[in-house]
């Protein structure tokens, strides 16, 4: 079996797509960390009292509040980062999940006996070689079907002659059909 990239159909997943995904994730995570920084900055940047005792007490009293402040900040960061990353994942991975879903529909149609059209994905979708491989297979099957039917039709033409010739030609055609189908295993 040849590899998916060997037949010159292009890669299954383009490098540009992977780099794009990594870049978007980078921006996304940087945004999340930036928001966390802003929250902590505004929480901790309040001026301390001017006198010695005031600063001492302010710093000592900061400790009990530090844990909930950090917890809320990290929670906000986690929720925002998770939300935006989820949206990003759904949007970006749709370039793979969409064609996969379409292919499944085509396979279901094929199995139910509905006439199958040539499969093509949207531009920008990944896994394009899958559609090309499916079209290649269906194309081969259709070529074999046409050849078999043409052989049988050709034999039927001899039925204008006598019965024995017709039967002999038909049997010959059937042997050829069986031979053609023998390549499938």
């Amino acid at each position: 079996m040849s590899g998916p990239e060997a037949a010159g159909n292009g890669p299954l997943i383009h490098r540009r797509y992977v780099f794009g995904l990594l870049l978007r994730l980078c921006v996304n995570f940087a945004g999340g960390v930036g928001i966390l920084f802003v929250i902590l900055y505004f929480t901790l940047s309040r001026p301390l009292p001017g006198d010695y005792a005031g600063v001492f007490h302010a710093l000592r009293n900061l400790s009990p509040f530090l844990r909930p402040i950090l917890a809320v900040s990290v929670l906000v960061y986690a929720l925002l980062a998770c939300g935006s990353t989820s949206a990003l994942c759904v949007f970006i991975l749709h370039k793979v999940a969409g064609p996969l879903y379409r292919m499944e529909m085509v396979l279901d149609e094929y199995r139910s006996g509905t006439p199958t059209r040539t499969v093509s994905f949207r531009s920008g979708d990944q896994i394009q070689p899958l559609a090309q491989a499916f079209n290649l297979w269906i194309g081969t099957l259709r070529r074999d079907r046409h050849r078999c039917l043409a052989t049988m039709k050709d034999a039927e033409r001899h039925c204008l002659q006598d019965e024995a010739t017709c039967r002999a030609q038909m049997e010959e055609a059937l042997r050829k059909v069986a031979e053609d189908m023998a390549k499938y295993h």
Binding site: S2, F37, L44, V74, L107, L136, G139, R145, V177, H185
Partner: protein, 184 residues
């Protein structure tokens, strides 16, 4: 007024395939949550220590609590970003590798089918969505093989002779109909 019947059929776009996108979203969420938890744990203990140390040191050359932990916070935020991004990148690369492997097997299987091999299992790999997809391809190939084998055996049986002309003609037409149903 536009005639809706003349418009091309609207292809429905499905934005969510939960079996594929769902686990990826959960994995990224787990990375972010873990990173956040580690950051919280580390920063909390460090800040407690630093503020206590600053309070008892006595020389208050700062205007706000932020001035005390500025560098520490910057380093921890940088660590959080790098940690989460690197782990996320590894996850992306694993996802891409699994997709390449799974879909690559499906492509190989379809190409082998074009060469006549309709029986070798696809075997698509670790992601369940690809496994299910591979099973669907195998079922399609299996159906095709079954109908091809039926045609082949029927053609061989008819070619062997010993059938009355009426029955032969009947089965001949039936065989043609069966062949027409391959890859409709």
């Amino acid at each position: 007024m536009k005639n809706r019947a003349l418009q091309p059929p609207w292809s429905r776009i499905r934005y969510v395939t939960p079996r594929f996108q769902g686990p990826a979203v959960l994995a990224f969420a787990a990375i972010i949550a873990t990173g956040g938890a580690i950051f919280w744990k580390l920063v909390d203990s460090e800040f407690q220590r630093v503020f206590l140390h600053a309070a008892i040191r006595g020389h208050y050359a700062f205007d706000s609590a932020y001035d005390i932990i500025r560098d520490l916070l910057a380093w921890h935020l940088a660590g959080l970003f790098v940690g989460v991004f690197l782990t996320g990148s590894v996850l992306v690369l694993l996802l891409v590798a699994a997709t390449r492997h799974g879909i690559g097997k499906a492509v190989d299987s379809l190409r082998a089918s074009a060469d006549g091999d309709l029986s070798t299992p696809t075997g698509t790999g670790p992601i369940s969505e690809f496994g299910r997809f591979g099973e669907k391809i195998d079922a399609t190939r299996s159906d095709t093989l079954a109908s091809v084998l039926k045609i082949r055996s029927e053609a061989a049986a008819l070619a062997a002779g010993g059938i009355s002309p009426e029955e032969f003609r009947l089965r001949w037409d039936e065989l043609k109909h069966r062949i027409r149903r391959i890859a409709p």
